[in-house]
């Protein structure tokens, strides 16, 4: 049974080699038969990897401890959901998931790419084949998930308790759908370079993939952030941890790619830049995979640290990044430059967007790798942590965020800043009002915090202004406005939603960073304490027995300002005996868009319990905003022109129209 999975994986590798060579050879020699091999081989490769993945999942579900990977990461008492999600809660399994998604996307191109030029399709599939072959070889050579143990142990070693959470079911798959989704953009770029041809239909194909990958990556990062927030027990939502940075860099580059692909599709400008950006985005995804999987950076995410794996991924990384950049340097000059535009135009605004986003991505990259570089060159150990990123990333983002509302209001080719500014007067007034209200009515609000709130308001109102202007709110009668709204292309709603989400996330980040309050104390049962107008009464602490853990659960009663009970908050510490590890299950109560966060610690000498309580204003908006961005991506994805795809040759000639008498 398990060996079937192993065989399937080896076969998939062999097919990936065929996929790497045959369609490409066909495309270069103009041989239709060879090109036609690409589709079936890709689909078969996906089926085989899916089979291997299914076999591993079944081994986990059945707790088959004769498989070393299952023994290392599972336990028979673990709830079924965590047995299944545990499949990718380890190095080998997560690499298999990575390849599964890669081959899945390849198969999608094979199935839905019939309207692509045959040679482009064949070349794209071959490039996907290279990536697939490299990673399948990596799995087979260094990280085989199907290795057996003999004799089989009776019981497994359990999964890291921190990972025994619903977050593991959602966060890695979403993140990988994003990471690996950019591989398609990469393959299209490399194919365009090999073909030496790039046009608007290329952009029409690349844009939905970028959108999809970006939306998944947004969701994945947000989910990871929320998971860390509730699981790690100190209520932080972003730590600038190297692994977080590894997923954030492709996101920044992908966001830039998303915007430059619009310019390329609509105005066929920025072609070469878009191509480079697509290559860089996937390169950053590969780099992220390397950083996480090699363990060169110490991090909470590093399940496995094994030098041989690190070197193998480093080779893959060098081969793909170096190779694609060399190809770019060689072939990019032969590509025709695109359309002209005035600096003050939609294109100009999007160029500015790209400038800031790529600089931000580079800053995060340098910050993440700098300690490695310094240690390699001088042997000194230095740290680059949150204070550095806050100090550099913040000022880089602020001007970009100020400019966001202008972009969609500028015309293509030649825009009018003054007209755009006039339309944004209402949004500006709203932002100003928000600043003043914050300064006047919130105790201890700093000017910077007030400006942050104003900035967030500005983005939210600016996003809505764009829609309002296009629908003619204020100038046309209500019925016309509704009709116009219904007639607007979906991608326009997508833009509004995504920018709105960005504003909400900004509001959440500013709210928590500037106005969070905390209360740390030792409490005894019956005692009360106050935070931000609420009163918390510590009831008692009770032991609870879980399926594979023991728990100490503290119960608190929440009272509002009027003394009325507003329900219970449960906060606990769990202990997982197999791994001898504790976890925190924070007590979180959502009140409006803010949250009360209660986390408990150890007992004090005099019989009290250490309790930390935070009031986190607007905190849910951080992830709510990300969901809105994701929804914006999805709405855009279903825009008419992307549903229909690249223009295809009309199958039949139009019927001659009857001439009216």
């Amino acid at each position: 049974m398990v060996e079937i999975g192993h065989f399937a994986l080896v076969l998939a590798f062999a097919l990936a080699l065929v996929q790497s060579a045959v369609p490409l050879a066909g495309a270069r020699s103009g041989n239709d038969r060879l090109m036609a091999v690409g589709g079936p081989v890709t689909i078969a490769g996906f089926a085989l990897v899916a089979l291997a993945f299914a076999v591993l999942t079944i081994s986990y579900a059945r707790s088959d401890f004769s498989v070393a990977n299952v023994w290392e990461n599972s336990h028979s008492l673990k709830p079924m959901l965590f047995k299944i999600t545990g499949t990718w809660g380890n190095h080998e399994g997560s690499m298999l998931l990575w390849v599964l998604i890669l081959t899945f996307f390849g198969a999608l191109v094979a199935v839905f790419g019939s309207n692509l030029p045959a040679s482009l399709r064949a070349t794209v599939l071959s490039v996907q084949g290279w990536i697939g072959a490299a990673f399948l070889l990596f799995i087979l050579a260094t990280s085989n998930p199907f290795a057996r143990l003999s004799p089989a142990p009776i019981e497994g070693q359990d999964l890291n308790p921190v990972l025994q959470d619903i977050g593991l079911a959602i966060h890695p798959p979403l993140l990988y759908l994003g990471y690996v989704g950019f591989s398609i953009c990469f393959s299209f770029s490399v194919a365009a370079l090999i073909d030496g041809r790039i046009d608007a239909s290329w952009a029409r194909w690349v844009r939905p993939w970028t959108l999809g990958a970006w939306a998944f990556l947004t969701g994945g990062i947000a989910m990871g952030s929320y998971w860390a927030y509730y699981e790690l027990g100190w209520g932080g939502f972003w730590f600038w941890d190297p692994v977080e940075n590894a997923s954030f860099m492709p996101w920044l580059a992908g966001t830039a790619l998303l915007h430059s692909a619009i310019v390329m599709e609509k105005r066929s400008a920025l072609k070469i830049w878009t191509l480079l950006l697509a290559i860089l985005t996937f390169s950053l995804s590969l780099l992220g995979t390397f950083l996480v999987r090699s363990g060169v950076l110490t991090s909470v995410h590093a399940f496995a640290t094994d030098p041989s794996r690190g070197i193998f991924i480093l080779c893959i990384l060098t081969l793909f990044i170096g190779g694609s950049l060399a190809l770019f340097a060689l072939r990019a000059p032969t590509l025709a430059a695109g359309g002209l535009f005035h600096p003050i135009s939609r294109e100009g605004a999007l160029v500015l967007n790209n400038l800031f986003l790529t600089t931000a991505a580079a800053t995060v990259l340098v910050g993440t790798l700098y300690p490695l570089l310094v240690e390699a060159l001088s042997g000194d150990k230095i740290s680059v942590g949150a204070p550095f990123f806050n100090l550099t990333f913040g000022p880089l983002m602020a001007p970009l965020l100020v400019l966001v509302p202008f972009g969609p209001l500028l015309a293509w080719k030649r825009g009018d800043v003054l007209a755009a500014a006039q339309r944004l007067m209402t949004a500006f007034a709203g932002a100003l009002l928000a600043v003043m209200v914050t300064l006047l009515f919130v105790d201890g609000a700093s000017v910077l915090a007030a400006l942050g709130i104003g900035l967030a308001t500005w983005i939210v109102l600016g996003a809505l202004t764009d829609l309002a202007v296009k629908a003619g709110v204020g100038t046309a009668p209500f019925a016309t406005v509704l009709r116009r709204l219904a007639g607007l292309p979906r991608s326009m709603f997508g833009t509004t939603l995504a920018h709105l989400g960005l504003g909400l996330t900004t509001l959440g980040v500013v709210g928590v960073m500037a106005f969070q309050t905390e209360n740390i104390l030792a409490m005894k049962p019956g005692q009360t304490t106050g935070i931000s107008g609420y009163t918390l009464r510590f009831q008692d602490i009770v032991p609870v027995q879980g399926p594979n853990y023991t728990e100490r659960r503290a119960r608190f009663t929440l009272l509002d300002a009027g003394g009325r009970a507003r329900g219970e908050i449960l906060s606990s510490k769990r202990f997982y005996p197999v791994r001898q590890m504790p976890t925190t299950e924070a007590g979180i109560r959502t009140l409006g868009v803010s949250q009360l966060y209660v986390s408990i610690g150890d007992d004090t000498a005099d019989g009290g319990l250490v309790v930390r309580i935070w009031w986190k204003p607007f905190v849910t908006l951080i992830w709510g905003g990300a969901l809105a961005m994701m929804a914006g991506g999805a709405v855009s994805l279903f825009d008419r022109r992307l549903r229909i795809g690249a223009p295809a040759r009309r199958r039949r000639a139009l019927q001659p129209q009857a001439v009216a008498p």
Partner: protein
């Protein structure tokens, strides 16, 4: 006794990596709110040496606890923020700083955003200017006279 060897340090690092963090303990905070605010700000800039990428403000490890106390002692003794940081660096090395110093070795780190933004901006401007020169030149006197002539008809 617990922190008396490498093994203990490894155990600590492990507890810190996996375990729930509950950093600041009741009773650690200073009475003077201004001084305590400075202590918190400094704590966020100091790395917990036995943890994986956590500041001492967030870490539950004993070493972080000791460092938090140390920072507060120095502040009580009248040190400036910089003096506290210098003192901690003199004992633990530069690795302890989460915000690397501005010095020549870190020039590339701190310079990247500025240099990239500047060079990128310059590049965009140069390309835009080069492109604009391709745009049709203005009409000369004869041509505009001819155009006026046509328009007047």
């Amino acid at each position: 006794m617990r922190r008396s060897g490498t093994l203990a340090a490894i155990v600590l690092a492990f507890a810190c990596w996996s375990g729930p963090a509950l950093a600041l303990l009741p009773g650690e905070a200073l009475g003077d709110p201004a001084l305590e605010a400075r202590a918190r700000a400094l704590s966020a800039e100091l790395r917990c040496m036995v943890c994986q990428n956590q500041s001492i403000d967030l870490s539950d490890a004993d070493l972080a606890h000791d460092l938090r106390i140390l920072v507060r002692e120095r502040l009580m003794a009248g040190d400036s923020d910089q003096q506290v940081l210098d003192y901690v660096v003199s004992r633990y090395g530069e690795f302890v700083l989460l915000k690397p110093r501005f010095n020549l070795r870190n020039a590339m780190l701190w310079g990247t955003p500025l240099v990239l933004l500047f060079c990128g901006g310059l590049l965009v401007m140069v390309v835009a200017r080069a492109r604009r020169e391709v745009a049709p030149a203005a009409l000369d006197a004869d041509e505009s006279a001819a155009l006026d002539d046509i328009l007047r008809r």
